[in-house]
């Protein structure tokens, strides 16, 4: 889809390595926040409910509960402000978009944990998007 000329423009904005994570994972998103002259790292913890688009436009949505209110935040994967995505728990899911979680209350909100056998985890996981 993307023309070679567009790639030429986008190239310099790609991250060298992209954190590997999947929809359904409970993650910590480390973001860089600039307050005046100070810089600090903020952590947003929650479940990845969607990943969309490709290339420089690729983004993901993380959902968490604050108090009793659902909060969703969207991050651009290649944004320099997204420092890292750390997987806390793998979720076993069968669809790409977990919007159904929005309507779930209480325990039903929980996703079954994905347990991977040792032979599978031994394989090195490739970065999702090639530079």
């Amino acid at each position: 889809m993307s023309s070679p000329i567009l790639k030429l423009v986008e190239e310099k904005f790609y991250k060298r390595t992209v954190p590997t994570f999947h929809v359904g994972d409970t993650v910590d998103v480390l973001t860089r926040i600039v307050e005046g002259e100070k810089e600090r790292t903020q952590i947003f913890n929650g479940v990845v409910i969607a990943r969309r688009s490709t290339g420089i436009n690729e983004s993901f949505v993380v959902r968490r509960l604050v108090g009793n209110e659902g909060v969703e935040r969207k991050f651009l994967i290649h944004s320099p402000n997204v420092i890292d995505v750390k997987i806390k728990r793998r979720g076993k899911v069968r669809r790409a978009k977990l919007y159904f979680l929005r309507h779930r209350i209480g325990k039903a909100r929980k996703l079954r944990e994905l347990r991977i056998s040792k032979s599978k985890t031994a394989k090195p996981e490739l970065a999702a998007a090639a530079v």
């Binding site: 023309s3 000329i5 567009l6 030429l8 423009v9 986008e10 904005f13 860089r32 290649h78 944004s79």
Partner: protein
């Protein structure tokens, strides 16, 4: 105001507008729209941009007040196949010592041109103190479009007894329209052909220039489809 007086005003307005339009060409090129993408700036700020492959353009003709009655520069962009071009085009291009061009556009000037016949203009002319550009293109054709798409009419409601008229324009005027009962007002917005019109996107911020690949990266959108030809000029209103 009498009709003649009004005409005079209109004419003077048009002239003042025109003199603005004929502003001295500082930077202008013909190019093709490549497509849209995102650019990440300092601090992670994301800008939506359009990439335009602009130039190199050859000056195929320099018009002057003496010979043509006005000052202008004609630029040619992209080579055409000589065996598919007319001899007239080939001969015209040969004067500038190039081959026939697929696109040529004239840019009017206020003072005599400081470019020479056969000179090659590139995106580098935008590098110096050009921060905003105007981009002219032909919008995407939408075919025969209804009033909702074409003029943003609201249509009728989905329910409340409305039947098969959900996208209709509604009333187009009463019998006493214009106070004379002459029917529908002239220029009433109705459905019809939409798109395929020359449009100018004004004062788009010039985000980046790639002189090695002849690319102009412009913030926002530009009229026309990807691959459509566009004219890029230094912004008339914001420079």
């Amino acid at each position: 105001m009498s009709v003649i007086a009004r005409k005079g005003v209109v004419q003077s307005l048009r002239q003042s507008f025109r003199s603005e339009w004929v502003e001295y060409m500082k930077a202008a090129l013909i190019g093709t729209k490549v497509g849209m993408t995102r650019v990440i700036g300092e601090g992670g700020a994301v800008t939506t941009v359009t990439v335009i492959k602009a130039g190199p353009c050859v000056v195929t003709q320099v018009k002057s007040c003496d010979s043509d009655g006005y000052d202008a520069v004609q630029l040619g962009f992209e080579n055409a196949k000589p065996h598919r071009s007319t001899m007239a085009l080939i001969g015209h291009a040969a004067k500038a010592k190039t081959g026939p061009k697929r696109f040529s556009r004239e840019f009017r000037l206020q003072e005599p041109a400081d470019v020479n016949l056969g000179e090659v203009l590139t995106v580098s002319q935008f590098a110096e103190d050009v921060s905003f550009v105007d981009v002219v293109g032909t919008t995407k054709g939408k075919g025969f479009a209804g009033t909702m798409k074409r003029h943003g009419y609201g249509g009728l409601t989905a329910s409340h007894g409305v039947e098969r008229k959900h996208r209709s324009p509604g009333s187009i005027g009463g019998a006493s329209n214009l106070g004379t009962g002459r029917g529908v007002k002239k220029g009433k917005k109705m459905s019809g052909h939409m798109g395929c019109v020359r449009r100018t996107a004004e004062a788009l911020k010039l985000v980046d220039i790639d002189t090695t690949n002849d690319l102009l990266i412009v913030a926002g959108s530009v009229p026309g489809p990807n691959g459509g030809s566009v004219i890029i000029q230094q912004s008339k209103k914001r420079g």
